[in-house]
Symmetry: C2
Subunit: 396 residues, 2 copies
C-alpha cells in the first residue's frame, strides 16, 4: 500500500464528514427524542460480546456477518455486534428485566463482514425500538406506527409499507408435513422470488390436497385485498386463518390511522424467517429498492437466555436515511472573536456561547471573520464587546 493510498477505506465502510455528520446527529436526536416521548428507554448494548451470547438463537446469516476476535483475557471468541436486536433480547432477559411491557430503544454502530445487499453499508448506524412482553397486535400496531412516525419525522417522503405474516407459511408447512431440509428449499425459493424453482418444489414435495394452496402462496401479494383472497384459499389450513385474521385486523387499523399510506401485502415474505414468529413489515421509499426500515414479531429470542418473552420491534440504518434525505449545506452563522487576550473578551465570548451562539476565536493575527467563515464579529465599541453583523459584498 503506497503512502498515497493510506487514506482509502474498505468497501462499504464509510466515514461521515461535517455536513453529513451534522445531519445524522440531528436525525439521531429527533428519533431518540421521539422514542423517549413514546415511552421507550434508551439502552447502549456493548459493541463486542462473547460469541455464545451474541449468536445464540440467531440465524446463520448473522453468524456469517459477524466479525470474530479473540478475547486476550480469556482466550475465548468474541463477536463484534452485527445486529443490536439479539443484544436487546439478552438485556430484556437478564440485565433489565421488567414485568409486563418493556419498551427499549438504541442507536449504535454495527459491523458486517459482508454487505447485506449491494446497496448496503458494512458499518450501518443501527437505530431501533423494541417492545417486549406484549403478545397482542396492539404492540405490533404501536411499533409500526412508531416506525412510520420516525420515517416522517426525518422527512423521508413517498414511503410505502410492506406487510406479511410468517404464520401463514408456517401453517402451510405444518399442514403439508415438510421436513427441515424441504422447508429450507422452499424458503430459499420464496426468499429469492424464484417462481420456477418454487413450482418444481411444489410439484415434487406437496401432496395433491395442498398443491393449490402452495401454488397460490407465491401469488398472494399486492393490495391489502389479497388477505381476504388468502382467507378463501387457506380456509381449511389450521393456523393459517388465525394468522390472516391477525394481519387483516392490523392492516385495517393501519389504514384507519394512515389513510394515504400505500400498503403492499406479501404473504410469501420470509425475511427473517429463522426468528420471526408473526407479523413482518418493512418501509420503502419510491425509487430505492432496499427497505429503509424493517421489523416484525419475534417471540422466542429471549428463550436462549432463560426468559422467553413476546417481542416486536423495528430497526433502520441512519446512514442510509441521511443519504436519502440529503444534506443541507453547513449554515454559516458564526461570530468571529478577534485576537485579544483580555478577560473581558473571553467573558463576552462565553456569554454568547452560553446563549447557543457559535463563536470562533482567532488563533493568529492573520485570522479574520472572512478566513473563519463568520458572518458576524465581536468589535470593541467604547470598551464594550458587541456583535456586529458583516454585510454581504455589494449589499450596501
Amino acid at each position: 500500500m503506497s503512502q498515497a493510498d493510506r487514506w482509502l477505506l474498505p468497501d462499504g465502510i464509510e466515514e461521515l464528514l461535517p455536513p453529513q455528520a451534522i445531519a445524522l446527529e440531528t436525525q439521531r436526536r429527533i428519533l431518540l427524542d421521539q422514542f423517549h416521548q413514546w415511552g421507550y428507554e434508551l439502552i447502549m448494548p456493548p459493541q463486542v460480546e462473547f460469541l455464545e451470547s451474541l449468536l445464540t438463537g440467531v440465524g446463520h446469516d448473522l453468524e456469517l456477518q459477524t466479525f470474530k476476535v479473540t478475547d486476550q483475557l480469556t482466550g475465548r471468541m468474541m463477536g463484534v455486534s452485527a445486529d443490536i436486536t439479539p443484544q436487546v433480547a439478552r438485556i430484556d432477559a437478564h440485565s433489565w428485566p421488567v414485568n409486563g411491557a418493556s419498551r427499549l430503544c438504541y442507536c449504535g454502530t454495527v459491523l458486517h463482514t459482508r454487505a447485506a445487499s449491494l446497496l448496503s453499508s458494512r458499518s450501518p448506524l443501527q437505530i431501533g425500538a423494541e417492545l417486549y412482553g406484549e403478545a397482542g397486535s396492539n404492540a405490533d400496531f404501536e411499533i409500526i406506527s412508531l416506525m412510520l412516525q420516525s420515517v416522517q419525522a426525518v422527512g423521508l417522503k413517498q414511503v410505502y409499507l410492506d406487510l406479511g405474516h410468517v404464520g401463514v407459511y408456517r401453517a402451510l408447512v405444518a399442514a403439508a408435513g415438510l421436513n427441515h431440509e424441504q422447508q429450507r428449499q422452499f424458503s430459499e425459493a420464496l426468499l429469492g422470488k424464484d417462481v420456477t424453482a418454487y413450482a418444481e418444489l411444489v410439484n415434487k414435495h406437496i401432496s395433491a390436497s395442498y398443491q393449490a394452496a402452495f401454488a397460490a402462496l407465491i401469488t398472494l401479494n399486492g393490495e391489502p385485498a389479497v388477505i381476504a383472497r388468502a382467507a378463501e384459499i387457506f380456509r381449511d389450513i389450521p393456523g393459517a386463518m388465525a394468522a390472516l385474521q391477525d394481519l387483516q385486523a392490523l392492516t385495517a387499523r393501519i389504514i384507519a390511522r394512515y389513510p394515504s399510506l400505500e400498503i403492499y401485502v406479501d404473504l410469501a415474505e420470509l425475511r427473517g424467517y429463522d426468528y420471526h414468529t408473526g407479523v413482518v413489515f418493512a418501509a420503502y421509499v419510491a425509487g430505492h429498492g432496499q427497505a429503509i426500515a424493517k421489523g416484525g414479531r419475534y417471540d422466542q429470542t429471549g428463550s436462549v437466555f432463560g426468559r422467553a418473552r413476546p417481542a416486536t420491534g423495528f430497526s433502520a440504518d441512519l446512514k442510509q436515511w441521511v443519504a436519502l434525505t440529503g444534506v443541507t449545506s453547513l449554515t454559516a452563522d458564526a461570530i468571529f472573536a478577534p485576537l485579544d487576550p483580555s478577560e473581558q473578551l473571553w467573558q463576552a465570548v462565553q456569554k454568547l456561547r452560553g446563549e447557543g451562539k457559535r463563536v470562533i476565536s482567532a488563533l493568529s493575527s492573520t485570522d479574520s471573520a472572512q478566513t473563519c467563515n463568520c458572518n458576524a464579529q465581536l468589535v470593541n465599541v467604547n470598551g464594550q464587546w458587541v456583535v456586529e453583523s458583516i454585510s454581504l459584498k455589494g449589499s450596501a
Copy 2:
C-alpha cells in the same frame, strides 16, 4: 458456557442500561453542542479501517490495543479503531482538507484488546476535539480551555490540571546524544516513575556536563513555579528554554482565565511521547487516580498521509464521566393513554408528544397508569381527552 452464563459480558466491556444511557446521551449532547458553539465540526470516522491506515505513525501500544480482523472482500487486514485521534489526522490530511485552522470533533465507541489501565474500559466511548493547522500556543490554550469547560459542563467537580511539555526531555536527550535504545530505556524509567532505575541510567549513560540536568528532570514536578526552577537548571541546553518559555506563557494564561484551578506541572511526563511534540496535559478529579481527559500537541501525525500539519487536541471516555458524575433516577413524568382505538385519542396523544411530553399507550386492558409508571393520564371528559395528574397516595 451454560445457558445461565450466556448473559455474561467480557471483562471491561460494558452495556449501559436506561438510567446510565440517558445520562450519557445527555452529556453527549451537552458536549457536542459546546464543541459546535466553539466552531468545531462534527465528524464520524469509521469503526474499522485497513491496518495500514489505522496504525501508520501511531505508537506500538496502540498497535497492541487494536483488534484485527480480515476483510473478506480483499483478504487484507483491518483494525477496529482503538483511538479516533489518528483517524482524525487522516481525515484532516485527505477527506476534509482545510486551508488554515480546522476544528474537528467526534464521539464514538473504540475497542481495546486490553484495558489501558486497571480502571479503564475496553470499550470506551471516546469523545474529543482536535485543532489542526495552528502551531502557536493560542491553539493549545483554546483546546485546554475547551477541555476544562467540557469537564465543567457535565458537572465534574474538584478538577485539577496536569501540564507538561515533551520538548524539555527531547532537548535533554538531543544534548546528551542518547541513541534510540538508550532513549527507550530512559523513557520507560520516567513513564514508570522508577527513580532508582532512572538514577542508574543517568550514572551509566550521561556525561558529567549533563548529569545535573538529567538528575533534576525527575524532580521537576509540582506547582507551576517548577517551570522557573527548570529554566535555571536547563539554561544552557539548546531547545529546552524554548519549550519552557512556551509552557510558562501558557500556564500564565491558564491561571489568569481559571484562577481557582489547581495546576500540577510535571516536566518528566512522557505520556504519548511517541507522537506528542509539545505541550501535554491531562485533567484529573480528586480521589480518582486515572486521568479523566487528556491531550497534547502532535504536529507530525498527518505526515504519513502526505500532509503534515500542526495539531493539538484532547479526548475523554464519556462512560467514565457518567460513572463519575453519577446518575439521577429516571424521572417519572409520563402520561398514560388508555386502551381506546379512537382516532381522537391518537390525535390527543400525538399532540402531547409533539409538545415534548412522554405518553405511554396501553397495550392491554390490564395496563394502567400505575403499571406503566405514569404520574398523569388522559381521561375523556365530555368527549374531550384531557390530562389529569394522578395524586399521590394519601395526599388527598
